[in-house]
């Protein structure tokens, strides 16, 4: 079709010329908030190229299962989700004093938060503002989906308060089982909630039956939980510095180590409460390895896969298998 003709078509009815992943990415990097920050936007773009391709098959299956029409408004909403996920990283990095990319670092904490808040406003308010004021079921569904996204990001933010106040810090006097219980719940409030939210947005925007929405949300929660497990493995063995923090906070491998009945558990706990300059990080890492923390994390991912299989049971076999295959390949790609 001639470009001039295509441009005359109503915005929502233009023929798709790009992949779903590409269209989502373009909406996300076109946000006004990025305009003055090309270096950070470039970094976001690089991350999106990878992330949207990884998530595209999953989104595609759900859109087909629920017969959801792919409109610009819907893609803008999904782009908003990717943006909010991406913005959670610099927030966590500032809170934990973790290393940041040079683009973010140059801004300093005030400008970092100014930019994050401006983008947050843009992705959560713009979809609503761009909707037609004419009442339609589709307009209402997208508005509800945007509120769902806003609510989930607020849930994750409130969950972060616990982290910021040091509730997950390992201290001498702290009952360790209580910390592990808290972490388990916090992952539900943060990571699981964020990934559940993508499923909620698609389900609400697509006006799927309540049972399908519940199935997709439960699947999303389990995916989010496993993503946190993988992230925490990286925090110890993948170049992360979770053992070098002061104080050390609970993550999945640490939760396993400090509540294990392994003979070296007390030695590990002593190491973790030792002040940073004299803490032997290699020794702590090797104790976790000896305890079997990695196979335990693998088991957690496997256990969540089993839970996914059970929650997806009400869906048709084709969709169920497609979602499970996606799960398998998402967590197997690290082999």
């Amino acid at each position: 079709m001639d470009a001039a003709v295509r441009n005359k078509l109503p915005h929502e009815t233009r023929l798709p010329t790009k992949s779903l992943a590409e269209r989502i990415r373009l909406f996300a990097i076109s946000l006004d908030g990025w305009r003055e920050y090309p270096e950070i936007c470039y970094e976001f773009d690089q991350s999106l190229r990878k992330r949207t391709r990884m998530w595209e098959p999953l989104i595609q299956v759900i859109l087909e299962e629920a017969e959801i029409e792919v409109t610009d408004s819907l893609l803008r909403l999904i782009a908003a989700w990717f943006t909010m996920i991406h913005l959670s990283a610099p927030v966590d990095q500032v809170v934990d004093s973790d290393p940041m990319s040079s683009g973010w670092k140059k801004l300093g904490p005030v400008k970092i938060f100014d930019l994050i808040l401006a983008l947050k406003d843009e992705v959560l308010e713009k979809p609503l503002a761009s909707l037609s004021t004419d009442y339609s079921k589709q307009t209402l569904a997208l508005a509800q989906a945007t509120v769902t996204l806003s609510s989930a990001t607020l849930t994750a933010a409130i969950g972060s308060y616990l982290d910021v106040t040091g509730a997950l810090a390992i201290k001498d006097e702290e009952p360790l089982e209580r910390l592990v219980y808290l972490y388990d719940r916090l992952v539900g409030w943060k990571s699981a909630s964020i990934y559940r939210c993508l499923m909620s947005c698609l389900a609400v925007a697509g006006k799927v039956p309540q049972i399908t929405r519940q199935v997709l949300e439960d699947f999303g929660s389990n995916v989010g939980y496993s993503i946190q497990v993988l992230d925490d493995a990286g925090g110890i063995w993948g170049g992360g510095d979770d053992l070098a923090k002061d104080p050390v906070k609970v993550t999945f491998p640490i939760a396993y180590g400090i509540t294990s009945r392994h003979p070296r558990r007390d030695e590990l706990v002593r190491l973790l409460v030792t002040p940073r300059p004299v803490r032997d990080l290699d020794c702590a890492r090797s104790i976790l390895h000896e305890m079997g923390a990695l196979p335990f994390l693998e088991f957690l991912i496997e256990d969540r896969q089993g839970r996914c299989e059970r929650v997806l049971a009400p869906l048709c076999a084709r969709t169920r298998n497609a979602l499970l295959t996606w799960y398998e390949s998402y967590f197997r790609r690290r082999l």
Binding site: S88, Q228, W237, G292, D303
Partner: protein, 79 residues
């Protein structure tokens, strides 16, 4: 938003994993999990997952890359 209270908690899974390491091939392995996971179906699923993981060779391990340092760059998978 909350964790499903009907499913085994992280602490229960830690205990179940520890119990299973020693006796995951034993005929009574599922019974041995009863003190930490009450529901029979859940015990079966948990044991199956543990067995799958523990039977894997080093090459088949999901997280092998972390140990051997092949995934050192992009550890922040959530972003």
């Amino acid at each position: 938003m909350s964790t499903d209270e009907t499913m085994p908690s992280l602490l229960s899974l830690i205990r179940a994993f520890e119990i299973s390491i020693d006796r995951f091939e034993a005929a009574d392995a599922e019974k041995a999990l009863a003190p930490v996971i009450q529901e029979e179906d859940q015990r079966r699923h948990v044991l199956q997952a543990i067995r799958r993981v523990l039977r894997r060779s080093d090459e088949e391990r999901l997280l092998t890359g972390f140990v051997h340092g092949t995934e050192m760059v992009d550890f922040d998978v959530s972003t």
